[in-house]
């Protein structure tokens, strides 16, 4: 059971994401009918799954939410900003409910009550049906409930399991996409037969059929062929089945029909298909009349055998009612966007695969290296095969890496919620702008970014944005904007968070830092030094400790989290214009192009992304400055020269650089410098191996890699090798705190 539960909650994550994407689309005016349908299906599936686990509050709330979406779908109401805001809060609350259910936490009784009331006000439950839905929503309810003593239906304990194979009433799968309607020639053919349970619960097929009549023109015919003599039949079987033909009104879709049967879907066999009545105008698809079930599963459509079939499917995950069995829609080629089929795989397995492929690549390189040492002619079949192997292992590695990469969308959507919540708490009006949310980042990285980003956003809302009045006074729109942006830049992932608030009040920051003894009044601090005080432990600029931030954790925590990920955080602020913080993260586990160099016999790799030019010994125009500082004259510019061996502590300062090759590098900030090395060997692809896993991060070193001979080479962190403005090379590594955030 717990497996099913886990699966349900995993599925909920996906569904919530769909919902959130839909909300964003609506908000940005990109929503269409399918957006709302998708949202509806998500909420519906969550409700359905909730039913299986008896999550009453969740069901209740999801149902009210669903009603609103339903009205929206049928265009009874309009998605105006107020409604979208309500739906956002509903989304958040639904998320809370799901989380609470997952962790078995209780949330306050009255939490969300006002949202629920609002939802109900927008879309009052109809015809008293709403209350039944709660009881009934679970197509998989039988997995958890026994059927009670009063229904003595015979030997099958799971008798009223959802005959899911046939029924497939869940509107979630895209197969249930709206069928092409409106041209008047498509009709729905509905086969319906009731389980005894349907009658024993007091449902009446006639009422259902009448409800159908509201959707269009219905023709009903009953099949009485299976009716047994009363004495034989007992109460265990219901033998009547019906065939209905519905010529739908405009806008009526299969989902609408399913909805009529929603309350009884677990107690009947329902099959909906499209047929063509009259002439088929534009189609050369003769068999619009459906693939029968037999195509997909051995599920005959009589009620009793359906139960057997269901029994077979009973072990199926309850949270996945969407077993794709009844593909009720023929391949009309319209609107049936194929669902990206996915599987869930344990992350450990993926990691193992990635490691193995990494080793394969290394072995391949080793093989190639030893081949080169053998007297094999260059165009022999062996070297050809090795060439193929190289290509293959490269492609294999790329594909495997892609498995772990996930778009940051999910993370951003969580953050968008934080913006909503914290702006509400702070009494400020803020909206979130997401850019580049399809940027793919390693899953581990996205997970570990949640905490720091949450904190940063709270900070921006709380300290960055001004109140609406202040904003208007400053000539800005009353609503503040928090912009979250992701991009791949020079081999790293860059995530930046900016607000259009007041910027850092440096006078105030300095005053506080002085009062806390972090700096002395006579210290000469640059603007960026002052900004960086925010990263000092225990710093809080809020006058009063607010609910949002200032709980004693400061940006220092954010910074150490980012550093633990091998990243850096950068802060820029312009008074009156806003503040932006940029996180730059390595693409872990990735393959990288690098230049292999040697220093004092040690091999090192300089990432090619940062490399601009290489200069062999003697080519460079080197100028000496005091204390052994050297500059390289390049195109009228003097660039600092950093001796890599000295910076990494491999040797003392060299008396001259005559025998050193120089690598011209450019950092993320656009600053350039030249690295002095002993020899440049070659450019090659390397597999990044993190150092933190078994050791810890090392200043100046981004990661390690394994060379063809099995030796380890360290990968230089070029950004840390570029002296920051006004900093000496030594402070660069020793005073890492400054270098990191400058």
């Amino acid at each position: 059971m717990s497996d099913l539960r886990d699966m349900f909650f995993e599925e909920c994550d996906d569904l919530m994401e769909v919902l959130s994407t839909g909300l964003d689309d609506l908000q940005n005016g990109n929503g269409d009918a399918e957006t709302i349908n998708a949202m509806f299906r998500s909420v519906h599936s969550i409700k359905g799954g909730g039913g299986a686990f008896g999550l009453d509050r969740l069901i209740n709330f999801a149902h009210a939410f669903e009603n609103v979406l339903e009205d929206l779908r049928s265009e009874k109401i309009e998605a105006d900003p107020a409604l979208i805001a309500l739906m956002f809060s509903s989304f958040d609350h639904l998320n809370d409910l799901v989380d609470a259910a997952r962790d078995d936490n209780d949330i306050a009784e009255d939490a969300g009550a006002s949202i629920l009331a609002d939802l109900k006000q927008v879309s009052p439950p109809e015809n008293g049906g709403a209350d039944e839905v709660e009881v009934d929503s679970a197509d998989f309810m039988p997995l958890t409930l026994d059927i009670g003593g009063d229904n003595d239906f015979g030997p099958l304990p799971d008798f009223d399991l959802p005959p899911s194979l046939d029924l497939e009433a869940d509107p979630a799968p895209p197969m249930a996409d709206p069928l092409p309607t409106g041209d008047g020639i498509n009709a729905f053919s509905i086969e319906f037969s009731a389980d005894p349970g349907l009658y024993s619960r007091g449902h009446d097929p006639a009422l259902l059929f009448r409800a159908l009549a509201d959707l269009g023109d219905v023709t009903v015919s009953a099949d009485t062929g299976n009716v047994l003599a009363l004495a034989e039949a007992g109460d265990a079987l219901s033998a009547l089945s019906w065939t209905l033909q519905l010529i739908p009104n405009d806008g009526v879709e299969e989902d609408d029909i399913r909805e009529v049967f929603e309350f009884v879907e677990s107690q009947c066999v329902l099959e909906i298909s499209t047929t063509v009545v009259e002439k088929a105008a534009d189609t050369d698809l003769p068999e619009l009349a459906l693939p029968t079930l037999a195509d997909e599963a051995p599920a005959p459509d009589e009620a009793d055998t359906a139960v057997d079939a269901t029994a077979q499917t009973a072990p199926q995950p309850a949270a996945k009612p969407a077993i794709k069995v009844v593909e009720a829609k023929p391949a009309t080629g319209k609107k049936s966007e194929p669902r990206n089929s996915t599987i869930r795989v344990d992350l450990d397995r993926v990691d193992r695969l990635i490691n193995l492929v990494g080793e394969l690549v290394i072995s391949e390189a080793m093989l190639r290296q030893s081949m080169n040492e053998l007297p094999v002619s260059a165009n022999s079949s062996v070297s050809e095969a090795i060439g193929q192997l190289k290509t293959l292992s490269g492609v294999l590695q790329e594909s495997v890496m892609a498995i772990r990469a996930q778009p940051v969308r999910g993370l951003f959507q969580r953050m968008s919620r934080i913006v909503r919540e914290s702006s509400r708490t702070a009494g400020k009006d803020a909206r979130m702008l997401m850019i580049g949310d399809s940027t793919e980042v390693d899953k581990t990285v996205t997970e570990r970014l949640v905490e720091p980003l949450t904190h940063m956003i709270r900070n921006s809302v709380d300290h960055g944005l001004e109140t609406a009045e202040d904003r208007i006074k400053a000539g800005k729109p009353a609503q503040g904007t928090i912009k979250l942006e992701a991009a791949h830049r020079s081999g790293r992932v860059v995530i930046s968070l900016s607000d259009d608030g007041a910027g850092i009040n440096r006078v105030k920051v300095r005053k506080i830092a002085e009062s806390k003894g972090l700096v002395r009044p006579e210290d000469d601090l640059t603007d960026s030094d002052i900004d960086n005080l925010l990263f000092r432990p225990g710093f809080s600029t809020a006058d009063s400790i607010s609910e949002l931030s200032g709980r004693g954790v400061g940006l220092d925590v954010v910074r150490s989290e980012i550093q633990a990920l091998g990243g850096r955080i950068n802060l820029q602020s312009e008074p009156g214009k806003g503040t932006s913080m940029t996180i730059s993260l390595p693409l872990t586990l990735a393959v990288m192009e690098g230049m292999l160099v040697t220093i004092e016999g040690e091999s090192l790799v300089v990432p090619t992304v940062a490399l601009r030019e290489t200069l062999q010994p003697g080519q460079a125009n080197v100028h000496e400055f005091c204390e052994g500082d050297r500059g390289l004259s390049m195109g009228g510019e003097i660039l600092p020269i950093v001796d890599l061996g000295e910076a990494l502590g491999f040797r003392r300062q060299l008396s001259n650089l005559d025998n050193q090759a120089l690598l011209l590098i450019e950092g993320e900030s656009g600053r350039r410098s030249a690295l002095a090395v002993d020899n440049i060997i070659e450019q090659r692809e390397v597999v990044i191996k993190g150092l933190e896993q078994n050791y810890q991060s090392i200043p100046g070193i981004a990661a390690a890699t394994i060379l063809g001979n099995g030796k380890i080479a360290l990968i230089v962190d070029t950004d840390q090798m570029i002296p920051a403005a006004g900093k000496s090379q030594l402070s660069l590594l020793k005073g890492q705190e400054h270098a990191e955030v400058a």
């Binding site: 191996k689 050791y695 100046g700 394994i706």
Partner: protein, 156 residues
């Protein structure tokens, strides 16, 4: 995954891997030991404590090798072909310990461990959990959690 639990699971009897550094005998709980390898050259790490000899490649994993002798204050080991690296897994990290030689795998009574003698220096007190007496020698039990390189460079 502390020693405590490992030891309780095997009740009183535990297996230890004993090894020598100079004239002294030390041991690790076998639960921590992944494998024992001959000396391979390592890649020097910048800005690392002196006792971190460098990084080695263990079938694709990159792990640090520590000179246990230097870490214990017994002088720097000059690696030679007879030197041995004990690959251990401690606190979710893999690490190699450079030692002179591995002597034996012994089964001892957990209760037989005696406290470290009072004469200890601070370093002994920190790194040695206690001693087992074997005939006329003593085997020093290393406190694996203390011996690991401390995260002094990153605030993590």
């Amino acid at each position: 995954m502390s020693d405590q639990t490992t030891e309780e699971q095997t009740e009183d009897r535990i297996e230890i891997v004993s090894f020598t550094i100079g004239e002294q005998a030390f041991c690790l709980n076998i639960g921590h030991v992944l494998e024992i390898r001959g000396w391979t050259s390592t890649t020097t790490l910048p800005h690392a404590p002196e006792y971190v000899v460098g990084m080695m490649n263990l079938r694709g994993a990159v792990l640090p090798v520590m000179d246990l002798s230097l870490r214990l204050g017994l002088g720097k080991t000059v690696p030679e072909s007879r030197s041995v690296i004990i690959i251990a897994h401690i606190d979710k990290k893999s690490v190699g310990f450079l030692v002179d030689a591995v002597s034996n795998i012994l089964t001892v009574n957990q209760a037989d461990m005696q406290p470290t003698p009072e004469v200890s220096s601070a370093r002994t007190a920190a790194f040695i959990r206690g001693v087992y007496t074997m005939d006329d020698t003593i085997v020093r039990a290393i406190d694996v959690h203390q011996i690991m390189p401390q995260d002094n460079l990153v605030a993590a």
